[in-house]
Symmetry: C2
Subunit: 470 residues, 2 copies
């Protein structure tokens, strides 16, 4: 049976300021209403005979993965948490072990969580070809027929044909210079390496064992010692950390003699930068792609996104990328967007936070948005999802005023437990043990005014937490 494995790695720093460490590219609705991760999952589970998706992600993104699956009504085949990042080969090994535990003959369709595929029918056809090859013990890479001489991707050189399904891989080649890329394009025998693969789990583990035994050993030990925590599979951190860090390309695909490629034209993009998002977007007559509240006067060839409740106006500009968010705006030349990483590097070096999280922060129970800050106060807009609860907690240095503006909250404040409805407020004194819970079926929204001499997020003592964070 076929098991989708979605790899939610990648920090997406080139898509700053939309992409932040705690909500990177794969979880953003960059094209359409669903996130790239959601699109990836739906694309896979739509294929015939496909099992529930296995997601491999970092600890920090576990609740986001769970919520995004829930939002599209897809049952999880397991959310495997990587204790540390060790690149794709060990991550896929964990997924292979997890799939095998349920299905010894599992076939894995491995997909990065942050790619776009426009032609699902073509992709489906390619998967069927790959399944055929995997049945003959091939490890299959999906190769993308190149549209142009891209220098940002690795290439796969095809060898002899394997029936009508695909080709033996002659060799993998690194990102070429422009001249070489043009030669590859003209040659016709090269594909872009998409990072998508299909193979039997057992074959992958065998080949990994042959070519990178330390990885298979570390992943095996880590998975053997794993435990379930809520919906998450938490593998042994120490064992996994002992694994070398390596990609599936280096560790397996370039070494095995059973590597095959299925070339496909499926409107694939890795959305590696703002300019590639512009390339795949539906643009207006002037070549602009705008989202949100934008007034573009005599503006051409630009990607412009306005944040909620904000207007972006442009006059006489061309070939720009303008990305506006609640706390940061990027203005870049479209052909220079690879250097957005330099902004993120600067933010890191200066110990800032605009690369880590948005002003609006997502939590397993909902979200908060810091809408106002002063010398001894902070105002947050808090949303608690139906059925959710914040931890039972207390603060050393701040008191809180809560005004409910939507829904019905259940408030615990020391000994008292009471309901707070729209247009009602309460006061949480400094040091009191309190909790906010939503027992209703609609979200609870409230305004919190924090008052005190220190207002950092770390002034919190969690006494109890339904999400295992205490």
């Amino acid at each position: 049976m076929l098991h989708p494995v979605v790899l939610s790695g990648g920090s997406g720093t080139r898509l700053w300021p939309m992409s932040r460490q705690d909500r990177p590219k794969q979880f953003l609705a960059l094209v359409g209403d669903r996130s790239l991760y959601q699109e990836t999952v739906l694309r896979a589970v739509g294929l015939p005979g496909m099992q529930a998706p296995i997601t491999v992600c970092s600890e920090a993104h576990r609740f986001t993965v769970g919520e995004q699956l829930q939002a599209i009504g897809v049952a999880s085949g397991g959310i495997v948490l990587e204790p540390v990042a060790r690149n794709t080969a060990p991550a896929i090994a964990l997924a292979a072990l997890h799939a095998q535990a349920r299905d010894p003959d599992a076939v894995l369709l491995v997909m990065p969580a942050d790619h776009l595929i426009e032609d699902e029918a073509a992709f489906r056809e390619a998967v069927l070809k790959a399944v055929e090859l995997a049945g003959d013990d091939w490890l299959v890479a999906f190769g993308i027929n190149p549209d142009y001489a891209e220098t940002g991707y690795g290439y796969i050189r095809r060898g002899e044909a394997l029936g009508s399904a695909g080709f033996r891989i002659e060799r993998f080649v690194e990102k070429p210079d422009l001249e070489t890329a043009e030669r590859y394009l003209a040659d016709g025998g090269y594909s872009w390496n998409s990072g998508m693969f299909l193979f039997r789990a057992s074959r992958y583990l065998e080949e990994l064992g042959a070519h990178a035994p330390e990885i298979v050993e570390a992943a095996g030990q880590a998975y053997a010692a794993s435990g379930a925590d809520l919906d998450f599979i938490r593998v042994d951190g120490e064992a996994f950390a002992a694994s070398p860090s390596d990609s599936i390309d280096y560790a397996v695909m370039e070494k095995t003699d059973r590597a095959a490629v299925v070339p496909v034209s499926c409107g694939w993009s890795d959305i590696g930068s703002w300019s590639s998002l512009w390339s795949v977007a539906e643009r207006d007559e002037a070549g602009n792609k705008t989202e949100g509240d934008v007034i573009a006067i005599d503006t051409q060839g630009s990607l412009i996104r306005a944040a909620e409740r904000r207007l972006v106006a442009t006059v006489g500009v061309e070939d720009l990328v303008i990305i506006d968010t609640a706390d940061a705006t990027l203005v870049a030349r479209k052909d220079r967007v690879q250097e957005v990483k330099a902004v993120v590097d600067r933010l890191k070096a200066e110990g800032r936070t605009e690369h880590l999280s948005h002003r609006k922060v997502f939590r397993p129970w909902g979200s908060y948005d810091s809408i106002g800050v002063g010398p001894r106060f902070q105002v947050k807009r808090i949303v608690v999802k139906p059925g959710a609860a914040l931890s039972l907690q207390k603060h050393q240095h701040r008191a809180e005023h809560w005004v409910v503006v939507s829904g019905v909250a259940e408030v615990t404040c020391d000994e008292r437990v009471f309901e707070l409805k729209e247009n009602e407020s309460t006061f949480i004194p400094q040091g009191s043990v309190h909790r906010l819970r939503n027992r209703g079926t609609e979200p609870v929204e409230l305004i919190e005014v924090q008052s005190g001499g220190y207002l950092g997020e770390d002034d919190i003592v969690r006494l109890e937490d339904v999400y295992g964070r205490s």
Copy 2:
């Protein structure tokens, strides 16, 4: 005696989104810490023998003018409110009448409120020359020695020398095309028309009477029927509205045979656009002028302003103007900034508000900033100045929660009057008569959460108001 007359007209639409209808260009700190209006006042009152400044402004800006004078510790010589805009000739007539009422021999130094002068010593020298000419009954225009062939200004052609003080004006010329402007520059006998003038009030009114008798009559009747309202001189609206709308240039200066010009090089700029602000600003090595939190990577020749608590990052761009505010961001090519007006026109046509006011709105008692909005609620950050009070008021459709975060507020709520300190809150029920007052010496800051089905600013019944707005 010399009386400065500061004309606070002009909407400054080309400096959107910083300049808005309720707080246009002249009231903004565009260069340094003080507004252009404040700089204009200080420049004038620093001259020897200068009397308190007379300001002519619109009704909408009266409190801003009063506050900005107070902030620089300058006593007002009168804030004359124009009931309707009738261009400069009638406005100056009101100021002349007002000055004459106190000083029949008043000499007026007329200055637009929104110009920049870098070399105050040169300006002072020019004023002394103009005073000398005014003593001989000349009406003096200040001409700026042109630095380059500007096509955006009118020019003044000088005639015969009047001693060493200045020249008779041969003629005024309209904004020229580039070729003509270049000829003027080469000729050396032309100055830019700065819009600044100096003359005896009586002479101005005589000449206006001779060449535009309807203006003098309308202004005379309007001023004769004026009344004082707080610090403001409120002239008769109907009488003033009967005046033709005309500039001092057309109505007087081009017609009188006693027009003189004093040419001066004083680092003058009318800051008519974002590019002219960039021109006068001190720029870094890359030719950028940045304000606020800006990360500029490989960026040249640009003007970049980030709003409070927001970051603007640029990559690989040049010759841009990027102006970021709490609710709108402009990105324009520096040589196309004249067309910013087109954005404002679009906002007007669409019935929007981003050209009318900033998210933070100034009131005579302080300010409010709408920091959060939802379907049935709004969150405002309110600052009440020491000694100030909001009107005694009530709302039909909303209740309000107030949390004081700084200072001590005096709250009236129906029959109760009580103090509210930092970290204290109260509830103002829908329909209750309430008032917020600051009897302290520090600003009061509070967070207001409004709750209700209609939250428009027009849901207010003012029962009493110290600013005469009830």
